[in-house]
Symmetry: C2
Subunit: 356 residues, 2 copies
């Protein structure tokens, strides 16, 4: 170290944040060597590295992510876009997505990535430019809504070469990579369970068309289970509903007011089922004795409502992990396929008939 050269740079920046150049001066090495040492490069002398690391620790030095991201052209950050349903009011996010958020953040942390979160109105232009601006290396799309309204934008993302995965039914012919639950199997299993409980006329609450592919798959499983027992699905027993409690409440009400008779409600989601529970309670119908009720998702609420809700559990932990891993795969330009994750039937009181 040259006497006249003592820490001039460091003296100047001591007030602000320390940079790798400050450390270089203090350690008497060049700035690239500091960079190498901090990144654990093997081509740095062990003692030099130790000295550098110690100084960095003392100065509470942290690598400037903007600089390193700019240089490396990748950010180590993923973006999560939540799409909200009609309710643009406060904070009524589907509880199911909350679990997903938890597992996604955890999976990101596990892979050393940070997570940007953004809520989107379905209608508005997607704020999907996190990748374009190099703030994120890829995007996770999460949220129900009319599939037909989003498919065009998905295609544009594919076209632009944006790295993204979406949570939803993984069906052939969709743009991009999807990770979802095995909705068909879930619908099949829970309907079979209702049949096993002696139910014969099962109302299905939830959209059953291509606008809502996940619900449609659940309905397909539902119908298949009926047919497997020699029953015929009746269109009159299906009523559209989106995944809110109110929507479920209204759908159940509509069927009752229309004079439909049924001994079970197979709801396309827990929130819908909880809305139906309310309708049935208001009408003095006992659950499960008069009408058995089932949901889908196994949100935390499902076990706490009264009667506790039989439902299909989605494996959110695995889902979050897979979403992150598939996305990282895409970013690494590996071949990536969509997947449907196995589900699990969870039987609780809402469908347990006393007498068989």
């Amino acid at each position: 170290m040259m006497p006249g050269d003592l820490f001039p740079r460091h003296m100047m920046t001591i007030k602000g944040k320390a940079t790798s150049l400050d450390i270089a001066h203090m350690a008497g090495v060049s700035q690239p060597t500091v960079s190498r040492a901090l990144r654990g490069s093997p081509m740095v002398n062990a003692e030099t590295r130790k000295r550098i690391l110690e100084i960095a620790r003392q100065l509470n030095y942290k690598v400037d992510k903007n600089a390193s991201s700019l240089r490396c052209q990748q950010s180590g950050t993923l973006a999560l876009l939540f799409f909200e349903d009609p309710t643009p009011d406060d904070s009524l996010i589907n509880p199911f997505f909350h679990s997903m958020l938890g597992s996604i953040t955890r999976a990101c942390a596990l892979h050393g990535h940070d997570l940007l979160v953004s809520f989107q109105q379905l209608s508005s232009d997607w704020h999907a430019d996190f990748e374009d601006s190099n703030k994120a290396d890829g995007i996770i799309l999460l949220g129900y809504g009319d599939y037909h309204e989003s498919v065009e934008r998905l295609e544009r993302l594919v076209e632009q070469g944006t790295h993204f995965v979406r949570w939803g039914a993984a069906l052939p012919g969709q743009p991009g990579v999807s990770v979802g639950s095995d909705n068909f199997q879930g619908g099949f299993d829970i309907t079979t369970h209702l049949l096993d409980q002696g139910c014969r006329r099962i109302a299905f609450l939830g959209h059953a068309d291509s606008h809502y592919p996940e619900f449609a798959e659940r309905y397909r499983g539902h119908a298949e289970a009926l047919r497997a027992r020699g029953l015929t699905p009746e269109a009159a027993l299906q009523h559209d509903a989106i995944t809110t409690e109110d929507s479920g409440h209204n759908a159940c009400l509509a069927l009752l007011d229309r004079g439909e008779r049924f001994d079970a409600v197979c709801a396309a989601s827990d929130l819908i089922a909880i809305g139906a529970l309310r309708t049935l309670r208001e009408r003095g119908l006992r659950v499960p004795d008069d009408v058995a009720v089932t949901g889908f998702d196994d949100i935390p609420l499902a076990g706490s409502v009264s009667p506790a809700l039989t439902t299909v559990q989605q494996d959110t932990k695995q889902a979050g992990q897979l979403l992150v891993e598939k996305l990282l795969g895409l970013i690494a330009r590996e071949p990536v396929e969509g997947i449907n994750i196995p589900v699990k039937l969870v039987v609780r009181e809402s469908s347990r008939r006393q007498a068989l």
Copy 2:
């Protein structure tokens, strides 16, 4: 434009993302002019600006955030750190925090900022270096837990000059800026309500000491309400609990097993109250007739459990907004004070006595 100079730069980068230099070449201006035009600087000729904007649109150009953040030394990003309670398992985040997340993301968007989300184990070292690495301009801390365990780290953040706000009881002598609910008033109001319903022996479920300042404030309000009616708070009627359903269940059970008699449960949170509801149901006690029950938070579940839960509503919308605004104030080096937000009593069936 010199003939020999036609788009050479552009030709080279047309495969990758467009940069401001590409646009400059195409528009026949210098790169700084492009930068100015895109940022809406008034010192750019209107026609030039128009031409530049059009080219940028065609190329789907987005400003590189890493470059601009590096240059400007600020990221336009805030970080949200969730601290989780004991349950390191999956995704059991307090539903109350979910609402907060919603309102915080919305407030961020409103102020043109992005949000990084990270979950922390309380025990581990805080991953609070988002600001040190220039990934975020400031940090929002969110999560219950033992205050004594975090206060030291909060002090270190203050010392380091980190910009942060935390959600929690805003009490004198705390390090940093806190935004919280008026927990004292909430505890006072809901206890007064129980007294108005004819309750006389009210159990309080939740920690009531300085380890959990928010709960302690609620208890203080509770005790004050009793005294205002000439009653004396009894230590035997208070039982510690953290904000989980299980903890509430156990606390209520412990009081019953200990032989305490009470005609109301004033729980320090909705989750605790819901746990208590379960205990009471298991013991064959009717709510509200035998025991009235109240919570605190007004999570979505509160209105859906049976009987629906009387509780104190925290204004999460305003909370999220204030957290973001206070933090932005700190970042802008404005003087910023903590605040306690007014709360609202929400009366539902769980405390409505038939006969007064």
